[in-house]
Assembly symmetry: C2
Homo-oligomer: 332 residues x 2
């Protein structure tokens, strides 16, 4: 019989601790040790920050490492727990899913103690870390194949009071976009588990494309703004500059109706940029057939007035592949 | 016995033609039909533009499609042949190498008529298209895992006159960076074959990261500038705006000495941006160990005054993986 998941240190200990969350071994692999940072300054908000759930979204782990550097000086009260990398095998493989079991860690919460590796990670986090927090930031990003602005996202929550608190928390990051995302595939998400327990859960989607120094500075500023809003850190929240603008907008999007799919296979040419406002009939992109230069290309046009939340990078797309995600100002 | 490579139309025909370059079938797959555009306006420069050599670099094919749209109106003399996609199977697989034979098309020139698919494509291009041109633009890009500016690149050429003509042509794109790249792995490159025949060969590396509308506008402007410089198109060349700047610099870089390698495995955090000037000792990036938050991270510092030509996107890197490409102003 394998050991139970456990921490190598006591989260109740005052002050800073660094240790590991031990995910027990199973039939598929040995035990994992996930580095954990804890800063317990007593009474106050209780925050859990996680990153690296998907191994190809490394903005979160890098921003989490930066927090570990400056939080000991900056945090004035409350408790913060940081796990920069929830899924080390996926990070090492640069893959979204966990390599040994092929599962998406963010679809198996609350996990199982005797399950596959992804389920055992989810179980350890759900049982040992989630109960220690009232607010969770699970740092994600949109991946290399899309243009996507630095954003916070959340899904609709049935309880209107929790929904309002969640949107307020998401907006406190002051990132260029706050997105309420109606998403049909919610079972097994970390979000759903935490929200069902009445916690405020925000999922920053820290952009798409290559992770450069300028983008990281924006993401770090967003998380700092959220810590200030929670009262964990002193300071003044400021909108980070993104494409020469200091602003933020709150949008909503519905899956699948706000996802435009490619009507043909071919090379997708984006013709607009993220956060552009498009009106009915505006050209969003073009799909070029590859077989012949005489064959007609297919225009992708906006079905109505909307904001471009995300757009696929130029590249080969198959029929029915999603190429654009649209949104509208949130109807509160 | 398989048929020989051939064109479905006569390149000598005046005016615009659209047809195909037929790459014969072989043991590994059926014949391929590569769409080809030709615009023959008689006397003048003879230019061949190719894209899609590597299937994960689609800036080239998209810009080539745009040229096919406006060149019939704009071209005043000479001959232009455009092949937007040299390697359709690689584009469909989104892979750098050709899926059926695993070869890098840009390492098998001049190819072989009875070889593997990549070799047969190279052979068809070398025998039927290359002789029709004095200048070649082979449109590449740096791929999704790096931050890289819109650039033209070339390799050192032994003949000083051809070298000077090549650099002048590369600079005529007026893209933010013109890079002379001393590159040890030259055998089998399309570049080398063309240069050995005395042709001017420029390899635009049209940036890294997601391919968005703004980036495509810069690349298209660069190619238009080059067409104006050749005298194929009327107009005034202008520096495209990249990161609020309208400028260009010509640099040189040497492999492997200008490539900084990661001294450890871990998560790479870029701390500077492309085209930043760094001095000896300046922090370029950090490699964070994944095993523990108590273990020291490793700083990557500049070995001397240089310009950051390319920098790896934040992500997991292995020991000895290249993370930064440095350069210096070209010593003419």
């Amino acid at each position: 019989m394998s050991e139970a998941p456990h921490l190598t240190f006591d989260l109740e200990k005052p002050g800073m601790s660094k240790g590991h969350l031990i995910v027990p071994k199973g039939a598929d692999c040995e035990a994992l040790s996930l580095p954990v940072f804890s800063l317990n300054k007593g009474e106050g908000p209780r925050l859990l920050i996680t990153g690296g759930c998907h191994g190809d979204e490394l903005e979160g782990p890098i921003v989490a490492r930066r927090l570990v550097e400056w939080l000991p000086e900056a945090q004035t009260c409350g408790r913060v727990i940081i796990v920069p990398v929830l899924n080390p095998p996926a990070v090492q493989a640069c893959s979204r899913n966990t390599p040994v079991d092929g599962l998406n860690l963010n679809r198996v919460f609350p996990g199982r103690a005797d399950g596959l590796l992804s389920e055992r990670i989810a179980d350890a986090v759900s049982r040992l870390l989630l109960p220690m927090a009232d607010t969770v930031f699970d740092l994600h990003s949109y991946g290399p194949g899309w243009e996507f602005p630095p954003a916070t996202t959340t899904h609709p929550v049935a309880d209107p009071e929790l929904m309002a608190k969640t949107i307020k928390m998401a907006e406190a990051f002051k990132l260029p976009m706050t997105l309420v995302w109606e998403h049909p595939e919610t079972p097994g998400m970390f979000d759903t588990l935490a929200q069902n327990q009445g916690k405020v859960f925000v999922c920053p989607e820290l952009g798409g494309g290559p992770i450069g120094a300028e983008a990281l500075a924006i993401y770090e500023a967003g998380v700092r703004n959220a810590l200030i809003a929670l009262g964990l850190v002193d300071g003044k929240a400021e909108f980070p500059t993104f494409r020469q603008q200091k602003s933020s907008q709150t949008l909503e999007t519905r899956r699948p109706s706000d996802e435009l799919k490619s009507p043909a296979s071919g090379i997708f040419e984006p013709r607009c940029s993220i956060l552009d406002v498009v009106k009915q009939g505006d050209l969003i992109g073009i799909v070029h057939p590859m077989e012949s230069l005489s064959a007609d290309s297919t225009d992708i046009r906006a079905p109505g007035t909307s904001v471009v939340c995300g757009i696929r990078s130029g590249g080969y797309v198959k029929v029915d592949e999603c190429i654009v995600l649209l949104g509208r100002p949130l109807n509160r």
